[in-house]
């Protein structure tokens, strides 16, 4: 089945018509299929009718009884790959616990073989990171290979080294985000080593080279009040997005989690605060999956969330994460105790015990998640936070405002 899908996903219909998107790949799913557009970049989930109109006449996935209501997609849409755990910066809160020396990393050939496997499985995008990806001498070769096989490479980098080599590599990316938790003297507020001036120069160089560049901003108790400043800076420098990532209890971030985790008032005020920040239309604000409960607390219309592909924890469905040693996991913040290599992904995507734990979260939802109207979107919040704070992978996210209110009501009774 996978080979067949791979064959079909070679189908491309590039168009010169500016009024039509540039589609690079299409893959079948039980409900119809998913279309990947390069220009403008988007993924569209479409039904069988739409697929037929595109000329895709059918798939075994449309006929199989077990595929009628699958728990997960036929493949992830994106893979997050820490291609090295090497990083000379040694930041205090590093979620990957990256260090200057990193043993047991995949060779160039092994990486390329697994990238091809993922592409043939139907993966559209790969988000490359580390460690610091630029510290791999073969990084250019890896990125060029992604493009060659039709995987769109994207990148998170510290931006602390942005010379001609790095600019050339970045020009192959769909989107590059540079880590920056604060402006000017606040750059290191979350324990990040480096210099704001260097990052600022990197962003400006990338803009000059016409590379789509954004900012990744880790949000903790320490920089919550500084986020508007980050947005103003991003707007001024011409970045196209700022993505806000919740500080996670992972890697060296575990040690300082209690002092960095957001307060409940901050979690509840997060969405209105961001929406109140002035910005140009060209600058998009994004939040990561762990912040979805903070959005849902404000009761946005569920149908709009679904249609805009707003998603909470989607490990083992939209997302697969791969560590620098080639071991995959449902998400970058939760370890796979089964120690499964990505080279087995073709057979293990559907059967992995580790990935099935992510897929079981909705079925095993406890209160108040079980009765929550947003359960199918949120999927009980962040698994890394739940596991770290409760020891139970299936527990409701203890930082979700709905969960906190539920616990308070129980206490009153």
């Amino acid at each position: 089945m996978f080979l067949w899908i791979a064959g079909r996903s070679k189908a491309t219909f590039m168009t010169k018509d500016a009024k039509k998107p540039v589609i690079n790949r299409v893959r079948y799913e039980s409900f119809g299929g998913i279309i990947s557009s390069l220009d403008p970049p988007f993924l569209a989930w479409v039904d069988k009718y739409f697929m037929r109109k595109l000329g895709y006449s059918g798939s075994p996935l449309w006929k199989s009884a077990s595929a009628a209501s699958p728990r997960h997609l036929s493949a992830p849409t994106e893979v997050h790959w820490a291609i090295t755990n090497k990083c000379s910066r040694g930041c205090a809160g590093c979620y990957m616990d990256s260090r200057p020396a990193a043993p047991c990393e995949l060779s160039t050939d092994a990486l390329k073989t697994s990238l091809k496997l993922l592409r043939d499985l139907g993966v559209f995008h790969v988000a490359l990171g580390g460690g610091e990806a630029f510290e791999r001498p073969d990084f250019h070769e890896i990125v060029a290979y992604c493009r060659e096989i039709g995987l769109v490479p994207n990148l998170t980098t510290s931006g602390l080294s942005m010379e001609d080599r790095e600019i050339e590599i970045c020009s192959l990316m769909g989107q590059v985000n540079i880590s920056c938790d604060g402006v000017g003297p606040h750059y290191g507020v979350n324990g990040r080593n480096g210099s704001f001036a260097v990052v600022d120069t990197a962003i400006r160089r990338m803009k000059e080279a016409d590379i789509p560049v954004g900012i990744n901003c880790v949000v903790s108790r320490r920089n919550y009040s500084l986020l508007a400043e980050v947005i103003r800076y991003a707007a001024g420098v011409g970045a196209n997005e700022v993505e806000f990532l919740k500080y996670k209890p992972s890697g060296r971030g575990r040690e300082r989690y209690a002092e960095n985790a957001l307060t409940q008032d901050m979690v509840r005020g997060f969405y209105p605060m961001l929406m109140g920040c002035k910005r140009p239309a060209s600058l998009e604000l994004k939040i990561d999956c762990s912040f979805i409960p903070a959005l849902l607390y404000h009761k946005p219309p569920k149908d709009q969330l679904e249609k805009c592909a707003v998603t909470g924890c989607d490990g083992g469905n939209l997302l697969l994460s791969v560590r620098s040693n080639g071991i995959f996991a449902g998400c970058s913040f939760v370890d796979n105790s089964e120690i499964e290599p990505v080279s087995t992904i073709e057979s293990s995507w559907h059967s992995s015990v580790h990935l099935n734990r992510f897929r079981d979260v909705v079925a095993k939802a406890q209160e108040p998640c079980r009765s929550c109207e947003y359960l199918s979107i949120c999927k009980c919040g962040c698994r890394a936070a739940a596991l770290f704070l409760t020891g139970d992978f299936f527990a409701p996210d203890p930082e979700c405002p709905f969960v906190v209110e539920h616990a308070a009501r129980k206490e009153v009774r």
């Binding site: 409900f31 595109l54 404000h298 997302l319």
Partner: protein, 59 residues
Amino acid sequence: MKRTSIRFPKGVLKVKKGYNPNSSSIGTVLYSFPLAFVAISAILSLCVALIGKKSKGER
């Protein structure tokens, strides 16, 4: 929040804008609900354009 339904073109179930460069977690565009439709309407019209004509690719 006020509930306003989004009317999608026939056959389009949902759309996800942009790429996700973040290598640690899935990103979601923070729309100003309940007006998210405005933000994705351009993509929806592109989807309609896709099946407006016969595509030219491999079959």
